[in-house]
Symmetry: C2
Subunit: 516 residues, 2 copies
């Protein structure tokens, strides 16, 4: 039986095509009944799991990756009927570039070829805050240059983040939050008494909230880096039985994989989840099998990197393992794992008592540039104490620091790099005065010789000698990454001496130019 | 034949007892004739080589290490006579503590037991400058807190240090310095044409100049860290034949070993002397054999540490091998080599174009504290461009920066540490909020529990929780290593929260105190 009238007639390429259908509400629809969609478009055939969204409603979400006519069939035990339909996939509109994937081995680009220079920020529990805080977060994201937001799906219990979330992922009752204080919160970590959940029954309201959040990020061109498991928990969600963990992954993947901006973080600080320590590969395989679009996937460490060479891992999602040397290890990690290196956590700008949360903006921005010149990427967040207890890193809200706008400057700088991405270059060994230069060059060997960025980090040379070759005409600019200025230094050929501000965090950009 | 009248009747313990004698001036006295002294005092018997000082004068220098009566005999081919004599060794006067030696495996102390907390500076060619510059250097040293001066014996040819020295170590003629420019100086490195030296004939005037320099440092309580070989050379002194190298070491050791404040640096940046690469152990053995007092000995690297586990090496004399992480590796080097770790070169405060020479004072001072809390030591120097071309690091002269007085503050801080020296401590694993603390404790296990210094480096916590044990009464102080303030924070027992300035480079010192 065919019923096409109830389905949308068209969809934009890489947008979410959603099919909503009535189905069985008896038993436990989350576990007892199935729903599948099979889609056929030009060179694009996929079988996609649907999900139950409460109130007798089932949904299948699909992202068409090709333009043209698609047909589909929806079936399963959820209904006695088989549903069929078709739609037209229209060209992507401006700002819709598709899914971000690995490009040039160490870098990222959207499906349409546009490079994606990852400049992310972290607000772990932003979605589960009061609506006015959530609006502030989106407002700040709209004004900042961040193109990725990293957050936990499950609620967060940790220092400065003790309030109950606006919704819970399961049917049931949470422990009483009124007993918590800043002093005793750690004692309630894990699965303390008082929680009563049915891990077989999702709370659709909770997941619909994330539909809206991920959808809004998508509209803003911001990637949604979804962390599936984390240890900062007082509800037992970090200690569920394995069948619940698997069901959770399948449900989340069925629900969100069709959003083009989704990235998967299998865990935050995986080592802090000892109950899952033997199960990450198994959980990863479920995630791989449940996401027909193969979104970016990684797993984030606390003190020891996961083995990023595992085939299911698309990129390194790193936390600094060394308090002093962090993003300066980017090229070493690139060599070791042969994948993009994204430092999602290197410390935060703020005034927390915890030393991961009281970095100066200068140091956080410096770490981002150290990653960038080595062909990696570094994320931002803020941890400022305030009377209202709203902290960007946990809740979102308002940005208060000085680093965010400088991450935007970095992103714009990266967008000016020829090709897709930088790597650390080597200079002539015979030039005495250049031995302590760190220079970034384009990743693509075909672009060698066209672009150089000398970065001076904590150092503050008042001038530098530059010598690349004798014949090419180059154009130079002094770039002050802290004051966000680009100062033209004119053209040169051969050996030259170029002035710098003599302050920290500056560099020299040199580009080959045409004669005349 | 005995002639006692011409010899001094007494000497202070650990001072230089010098015997001057006439001898043969025919042939080449530097190579043809020998002079030896044999000394016998209470528990102190030594055979010491003398040296020729020109104009028919030979000298033997001896440092008596015990109080009481010494007798001696001087003989050799330099004279037909054998000279005998005796003298009384008097107690050391205030400020004379003897020779600095390794103590507590990783630290240093003088012969009389007084700890030596090494806070050095480097003026590579200070002794060979015009007299008014030399006087400025001593004036600055007298007002600063540095207790070690590191310098090259041989003259130095390098960027910003191109003038001829006031004297040369050998008879002969140097190349013409007037051809040198800042642009071409590197081409003249090594042994360019125009030099004409007799490596068998020392220039006594050159070495008498160092007698005065080392003696003045001794009077000021400043250790003289003498670098014997280095590559920054345009006279060929870095490329002498091995017999000349050996003669040079024996001459220098005979001449200066009796100065209690001498340390030996076999080389600066040994890797840059490829002609000596297979010979360091041989040269070291000659140095060991030529110094009856066993002064501290090391060899300084450029980019790769020498094997400091060699038995003749008393301590690690390190240059940073990693531009970003340096003195934070101190505990790792302590574990690897089991010897004191002295970072003689981690970069310099200044405004040079070279990135090793344009550190902020904050970063240089931070590196010194990172070494200190790990039970190591870090040296200072300055590289400021100026109209007169006088740079502390090369010439001495005037101190211009902000770090020197902060090294003095560090030295005073170290002098307050119980016992002799610090090491990195471990805190209770069960205290959640202390996991990112770096805490220094006394090296001596017997002093465990009496002293803690929590250092926050680049971080800026506005407060920290401290918890050591439940029973001890502690006294706390906030230490701002940049502003050089010590602020009492009162007494506490058990768990406490202590305020900090909320700026970088601060720490908390906690000392156990008596009840009442």
């Amino acid at each position: 039986m065919i019923d096409t009238a109830r389905f949308p007639a068209s969809c934009e390429r890489w947008d979410v095509y959603e099919i909503s259908l009535p189905g069985r509400a008896d038993g436990n629809p989350f576990t007892d009944w199935t729903i599948w969609g099979e889609f056929r478009g030009p060179g694009d055939v996929k079988r996609v799991s649907g999900f139950y969204d409460g109130n007798g409603v089932y949904r299948v979400r699909f992202m068409p990756c090709a333009e043209g006519r698609y047909t589909f069939t929806v079936s399963g035990t959820f209904s006695d009927r088989v549903w069929e339909g078709s739609f037209e996939t229209l060209p992507a509109s401006a700002g819709n570039h598709g899914v971000v994937r690995v490009r040039n081995r160490y870098h990222l680009a959207y499906d349409d070829g546009t490079p994606h220079y990852s400049v992310g920020t972290t607000c772990y529990a932003f979605a589960l805050q009061a609506p006015e805080i959530v609006e502030q977060t989106f407002d700040e994201l709209g004004r900042s240059g961040f193109n990725k937001l990293r957050f936990c799906l499950m609620p967060k219990h940790y220092d400065f983040s003790l309030r109950d979330p606006v919704a819970f992922p399961y049917e049931g009752t949470p422990m009483d939050a009124s007993v918590l204080t800043r002093e005793n919160f750690a004692e309630y970590t894990g699965n303390p008494p008082g929680n009563d959940w049915d891990f077989t029954r999702f709370n659709p309201e909770f997941f619909r909230l994330y539909d809206r959040m991920i959808g809004r990020l998508l509209e803003m061109g911001i990637e949604a880096d979804i962390i599936l498991f984390h240890a900062y928990d007082r509800w037992g969600f970090s200690q569920m039985p394995m069948d619940a963990n698997e069901r959770y992954i399948r449900y989340v993947a069925a629900r969100y994989s069709a959003y083009r901006n989704v990235w998967w973080g299998l865990a935050n600080e995986y080592e802090l989840l000892p109950g899952l320590s033997g199960h990450w590969e198994e959980l990863a395989q479920i995630l791989v099998d449940s996401d027909p679009w193969g979104h970016l996937r990684s797993i984030h460490n606390c003190e020891t990197f996961y083995d990023y060479s595992r085939p299911w891992i698309t990129h390194c999602s790193c936390q600094r393992c060394d308090h002093h040397k962090t993003t300066e290890d980017t090229d070493e990690l690139r060599r070791r794992y042969g994948k993009p290196v994204i430092w999602d956590e290197v410390g935060y700008e703020g005034d927390f008592p915890h030393c991961w949360g009281n970095f100066t903006p200068e140091e956080l921005v410096r770490r981002a540039w150290e990653a960038a010149i080595r062909g990696g990427y570094c994320g931002h967040s803020e941890t400022f104490l305030s009377d209202d207890g709203i902290v960007w890193w946990a809740h979102g809200g308002r940005l208060k620091g000085e680093s965010a706008e400088r991450f935007d400057f970095l992103r714009k700088f990266l967008e000016d790099v020829p090709g897709c991405g930088l790597k650390l270059g080597k200079l002539r060994d015979d030039v005495h005065f250049q031995w302590d230069d760190y220079v970034a060059i384009p990743e693509d060997p075909a672009l060698e010789g066209t672009y150089y960025f000398f970065y001076y980090s904590i150092w503050r040379p008042p001038f530098r000698q530059i010598y690349i070759d004798d014949t090419t005409l180059f154009e130079a600019e002094a770039i002050d990454t802290w004051n966000m200025t680009v100062t033209p230094l004119g053209r040169f050929r051969g050996r030259t001496e170029l002035p710098l501000p003599g302050t920290q965090y500056c560099g020299i950009r040199v580009r080959a130019v045409e004669e005349g």
